[in-house]
């Protein structure tokens, strides 16, 4: 059990007072920012990334693990108390969670979300420890054509599986690929789309893109349509659950985890499908079907566990293959890259201790989250009352600070504004933002792998089809692309399950 030893070593590295303090700060700040309305987990991580710039990688990742789970939990608090899911993954939690809160059961909804998140996060992280080495073994055998095919699959999946409109997903992806193109070509050293601006030679930093599209875009969009009336907040006491709530919650937690983790770990996964599946399953299995739609605790427990387990699952392809499958993983990948660390199969050889510290911190952050959030929930709920001008002024303030801190150049602030306006336009026209972020991050690497594949074949396009993995992946791509046609003829009669 080599991995267990590695993990124990990871725990030993984390359990130093200073490191535990960093984990605690990460959890606190992550939750506090994640609770703020309109800020989802990905935006939380992007906004807080620059905070860690002055630290050593180990310290930074300890804090990051806390921010990661803190941001996730904060998002679910908001969706329960305000019905304003910061990210599509907490949409389902909001359905029953907010109804429960309105029915005076906010404390129980928050409790089942917190404990469910803890259970799912812990099991998910354990599975991460168990599964990742196998994925690494698999990934080591992959050649350039296989990687190229996998990234192509990510592009296709993110544009056509998730989101409502394929054409709009594709627009977003292409814009992301264009942004990713800016800078010096890694192979030939030629400048592309830099317009002769020397600062652009290194490309546009992913953090600037993420903060611009998520934070600035969101703030501008909300500012243009700000609701000028105070928001009604549901008062909360300290979260607790009665015996009956426990009895009704524990199975949904486990089932939600079982849905969440595998979907998160797939290259085309995400949290939307498993949270929805979990909701549908709990609705079918419940002994209290009359409560669904009016605030059933199973409908919070299951999806919330699925959401957290899926978040742990997304770390598998992110760490082992370097493939982000949702926005939060994409920003985490950017965090690795900002330290000059490239996730992928070699990560576990080159930066083994760092990876195991990160994983150990995930366990610890998750536990801290549970211990903190049960007593602190009323305080978090107060954050929801922050006057909106201050909230969005604060978002722009921290976004600017973070973007400037990346490279210490004012040009990044203008880029941030431009990207914010792009994010604004995307919200106006209903273009999804996730494909853009994935395009920016994976675009340059897909090009590199594609050119490497063609190098082996001397420029023949046949070089793009390599081993059996690439055949399989291309087959999946064809399936994904053909799915709407298949569905139109085959699955027509049962489209109204929900």
């Amino acid at each position: 059990m080599d991995n267990l030893n590695n993990l124990m070593q990871g725990f030993e590295d984390v359990i130093a007072p200073m490191n535990l303090l960093l984990a605690l700060i990460g959890v606190l700040v992550g939750t506090a920012v994640g609770v703020l309305p309109g800020i989802g987990p990905a935006m939380t991580v992007a906004l807080l990334l620059p905070v860690t710039y002055g630290m050593e990688p180990v310290q930074a990742f300890i804090m990051f693990a806390g921010i990661f789970y803190g941001g996730m939990y904060g998002g679910s608090t908001t969706s329960i108390l305000l019905n304003t899911p910061g990210e599509s993954s907490s949409v389902v939690t909001a359905i029953e969670g907010n109804k429960m809160a309105k029915a005076g059961r906010a404390a129980q909804a928050l409790a089942t979300a917190a404990i469910g998140s803890f259970v799912a996060g812990t099991i998910g992280t354990l599975l991460l420890v168990l599964v990742t080495p196998f994925v690494v073994d698999f990934a080591v055998s992959l050649g350039a054509p296989d990687y190229f095919a996998l990234m192509l699959l990510s592009f296709i999946a993110v544009t056509s599986v998730l989101g409502a409109s394929r054409i709009r997903g594709l627009i977003s992806l292409l814009l992301g690929l264009t942004i990713g193109l800016v800078g010096i070509d890694a192979v030939s050293g030629q400048q592309r789309l830099t317009l002769g601006v020397p600062q652009l030679a290194d490309g546009i930093d992913v953090v600037v893109v993420a903060v611009g599209i998520f934070a600035v875009g969101e703030a501008l969009w909300v500012a243009a349509h700000l609701r000028r009336k105070p928001v009604e907040i549901i008062p909360v006491g300290r979260p607790w659950m009665g015996k009956k709530d426990w009895r009704r919650s524990w199975k949904p937690w486990l089932r939600g985890t079982a849905f969440g983790f595998p979907f998160g770990a797939l290259p085309a996964g995400g949290a939307e499908i498993p949270t929805f599946l979990s909701y549908a399953t709990e609705k079918r299995l419940t002994k209290h079907p009359e409560e669904f739609g009016k605030g059933a605790i199973e409908g919070v427990a299951g999806p919330e566990a699925a959401n957290n387990a899926s978040a742990a699952g997304t770390l598998v392809p992110m760490l082992a293959i370097g493939l982000p499958t949702n926005a939060t993983a994409a920003v985490m990948l950017a965090a690795f890259q900002s330290y000059g660390i490239q996730p992928g199969p070699l990560l576990f050889e080159r930066e083994a201790s760092l990876v195991w510290v990160l994983i150990a911190s995930l366990f610890i952050g998750n536990l801290m989250l549970l211990l903190l959030n049960l007593p602190l929930a009323p305080a978090w709920a107060k954050l929801l009352q922050i006057p909106r001008p201050y909230l969005y002024a604060g978002i722009l303030f921290f976004a600017s600070m973070g973007a400037y801190a990346v490279n210490a150049q004012p040009l990044d602030l203008f880029l941030l504004l431009t990207l914010g306006l792009l994010g604004f336009a995307m919200r106006r026209f209903g273009l999804p933002v996730l494909p853009l972020i994935i395009g920016v991050i994976l675009g340059p690497r897909a090009e590199l792998q594609g050119r490497r594949s063609l190098q082996l074949s001397g420029g023949e396009l046949s070089g793009l089809v390599g081993g059996p993995v690439s055949y399989a992946v291309y087959a999946v791509i064809v399936l994904v692309l053909a799915w709407p046609l298949v569905r139109r003829f085959a699955v027509r009669p049962r489209t109204t399950v929900a």
């Binding site: 949409v91 193109l181 789309l193 243009a224 700000l226 929805f276 001008p389 722009l396 303030f397």
Partner: protein, 177 residues
């Protein structure tokens, strides 16, 4: 997946406002970007070698062509009455039109910070940014906001620049802070 989208669109979206012609502007933007990417791509010297038979030109050209194709496909979709759902949210009121005055004021505050950050330093430019954005968003407690803004920029400067070693300029206050 599709069920969820349907449910949401029934619950919180405003009724479809007829054909959304502004989307043709997006098409025009995509054409513009596509042409720019192709022109820039063709301007790159075509360098190939045995280790890189493709060279740096191929991807920009392919991407540019894809952008043009997508612009056409999008235009067709719009002409057929396709439209995207504007993003909803608890603080978002889509029944009113877009409040451009607020957006322009925000952009103004943003640009002021970007121009002044190196000259005056983060503490001053950041405080101006917070105060300006709070004003733009309709808060009229000038003095209180100034206090909050200065506290915020001072705290972040000491916590991040001095405490955590994040890059933030001291500007004219160099030596005083």
């Amino acid at each position: 997946m599709s069920q969820r989208v349907d449910e949401r669109s029934v619950e919180d979206a405003p009724p479809p406002p007829g054909k959304d012609r502004a989307q043709y502007g997006v098409c025009a933007f995509l054409v513009l970007v596509g042409v720019a990417v192709i022109v820039d791509g063709l301007g790159i010297p075509h360098i190939t070698s045995s280790t890189d038979p493709v060279g740096p030109r191929a991807v920009p050209v392919i991407l540019g062509v894809l952008l043009l194709l997508v612009a056409v496909a999008y235009a067709v979709d719009v002409a057929r009455g396709g439209h995207g759902e504007p993003e909803a949210g608890e603080d978002v009121d889509l029944s009113q039109g877009t409040d451009w005055r607020t957006v322009l004021l925000l952009i103004g505050a943003f640009v002021v910070n970007a121009v002044l950050i190196e000259r005056l330093g983060w503490v001053i430019s950041g405080a101006l940014l917070f105060w300006g954005t709070a004003f733009a968003l309709g808060n009229r407690h000038y003095v209180r906001n100034l206090l909050i803004a200065v506290t915020l920029s001072l705290t972040t400067f000491y916590a991040f620049a001095i405490g955590l070693g994040v890059n933030l300029p001291a500007g004219v206050l160099q030596g005083i802070l």
